[in-house]
Symmetry: C2
Subunit: 379 residues, 2 copies
């Protein structure tokens, strides 16, 4: 909750629910990551929040971009990024999307299977390709490992095949899982990738790049390691596993870059103890829920911090179940991990949900239960 | 997959992913339910699919409507439903939404807590109100019971209070859970509500209505009881528990009314065994997933049927993991319950997902990973 956002909410009193993003926070995170890992190229994972204002700011700061779709590639180009600063970072691409990206000048593509590699050879001839390895996601609140990435053995075979297919075997990537709170995960993954990197060099396949993916966490409720902690681990790991000098390093931060920049402003629709007894659980229903943008509360995976208009040092609090506004029974955000909220909280009160800049705005449904998509303000 | 949808897909070849809905199927389901329970008033739960074409068809057939929000109320009015045919069926309502509904002539409101009842008394004075009871959701694939409904004892106190507040205590409701496949759930719930109904009559509170909610299932993969099976159980239960004659009966079908009417047409983006070995699981990635509309595959709760362009009687098949197109690791639809798909299936093939008329179109995200909302056709 930056002073700029606090002032905006106080002065503008925007209708709820809405997301307010302080662009200066995005810029500060870009610079902090750049300062901690100055040798790395930062490819912002725009799926975290593709708002034009964010892309504009990052283009100006010199960022590159990790795009998940042809639409995201177009958004980056519209914001002024040149094609050499864009990576098509989704292992899942239709042939027509590859062709269009290739025609737009994109020359860096990820893959994790022979089927995708053959599509790239056919529709983006000569492109630079990097292979995504499956690595452990232990320590991540939002794991990604089951759906993406291949084995070391298969990656080795695929890189040799890439050369035969006329592609440029360019590098290796991995993803330690989103909201990764353990610095060691990067060391383990770098060690794994480095082994294959050197092995392929011995085969005459001279890779030039290692893509460390994203995963750097946002501060929600629990403290997380600083970006400097991650940088220290990464630097030490690169020195150990690439004693003759590290390759070009890419990073794909999404959540880290924009998470802290946003606040969702919402309103309490109802506070009730439905059993009617004071011993019944207190339910707080907000005008935003899992289908209005807070999709990452699924399984209570991402645990946001709440601020209310009734907060004060001496406010008595008790744990509440927090749920969304729809008629859907799964639209419950926190039930196992109840949120301590002021006992005076009631219908009509404002509730701010912090660190909601990432993976919120575009998750919102088009109109579930008739509720409109989340309004957004970039200041 | 009706002949009309088959013809539309063959002739129009619409870009995928898209949802195609055969309005005649909606009409047939309305009539089947009306024929099975002719004494009941049908309030279509428009959250299942609020497309204007569906509302138009149902207005013409004489349906009433269960709205989850003020926006849904406006949609019903726009489609030509008069206010007396609309119930504000969400227990979660802001004061301003209640006022607006009241001003629009809506006079039937649900509640399940003293807090909501007091809001109704203040902002919709004199309205007819019904109290939602919590009932067992055993047998439902998409349960609703934790978030909504109150106890018999509290409902009794609230109905007495409603009268004191100048409201019309009109009825009781319950919801046995969505995609309810056990007919007995209705008997248990009716028995519970009937006890309170008679008790309140003895207190001089003459309720006139019993709202049986929705829950009637759609045929996905497993066979489900017919609407006649449900009607027989409901009729028997009403005779048993209301020996002097049943009150006005309301039904709120959503999934039942539109589920069978829709087909999602999608395209295979990639088929891969990422480990590279034939023993590795085969993953089929489609251009629609959990964030493109198929949200009810969360936890593999709703299990759709797939038809592919490679289907034939002698096609060899093997179980596949089925996932969506995004970079999100949770965008996996079926992994525990793998789908047997033809071994010849490959990138670019069409896959039709059946019985997707309900709870699909409006669940789609506004633009997650840059993918546009689901295109819809009503024919």
């Amino acid at each position: 909750m930056t002073p700029k956002i606090t002032r905006f909410l106080a002065e503008q009193q925007p209708a709820t629910p809405c997301l307010v993003v302080d662009l200066d926070v995005v810029g500060a995170h870009y610079r902090a990551l750049h300062d901690a890992l100055p040798e790395a190229k930062i490819y912002y994972a725009i799926k975290a929040n593709p708002a034009p204002a964010i892309l504009d700011r990052l283009v100006g700061l010199g960022s590159s971009f990790d795009a998940a779709s042809i639409a995201e590639i177009r958004m980056c180009l519209d914001a002024g990024a040149t094609p050499d600063r864009i990576s098509y970072g989704n292992t899942l691409k239709k042939a027509e999307w590859i062709r269009e990206a290739h025609d737009l000048g994109i020359s860096l593509f990820v893959f994790d299977s022979i089927e995708e590699l053959e599509k790239l050879a056919k529709h983006a001839p000569g492109a630079r390709v990097f292979c995504r390895l499956a690595v452990e996601n232990e320590g991540a609140d939002w794991p990604l490992s089951r759906k993406f990435g291949t084995t070391l053995g298969n990656a080795r075979a695929l890189m040799l095949r890439a050369r035969e297919l006329g592609l440029k075997p360019y590098g290796l990537s991995f993803h330690v899982g989103s909201q990764q709170t353990g610095v060691a995960a990067y060391d383990h993954a770098i060690a794994k990738a480095a082994g294959l990197y050197h092995d392929l060099r011995a085969q005459g396949v001279n890779l030039q790049m290692l893509n460390l993916g994203g995963g750097f966490p946002t501060h929600y409720r629990e403290n997380v390691p600083s970006v400097q902690d991650f940088a220290d681990t990464i630097h030490a790991s690169l020195r150990t596993h690439f004693p003759d000098g590290a390759p070009e390093i890419l990073l794909e931060p999404g959540r880290y870059m924009v998470g802290q920049s946003g606040v969702v402003s919402s309103e309490v629709i109802l506070v009730s103890r439905r059993g009617g007894a004071v011993t019944d659980p207190r339910w707080v229903y907000l005008d935003i829920g899992r289908f209005g943008g807070l999709a990452e509360t699924e399984g209570e995976a991402i645990r946001y911090t709440f601020r209310t208009s009734r907060d004060s040092d001496d406010a008595s609090r008790s744990p509440c179940v927090v749920a969304g506004p729809s008629c859907d029974g799964v639209d419950i955000m926190y039930e196992k991990n109840r949120i301590p909220l002021p006992d005076s909280l009631e219908c009509g009160d404002r509730v701010e949900i912090l660190a909601t800049g990432a993976y919120v705005s575009t998750y919102a449904s088009v109109g579930f239960n008739g509720f409109p998509p989340l309004a957004e303000y970039y200041i």
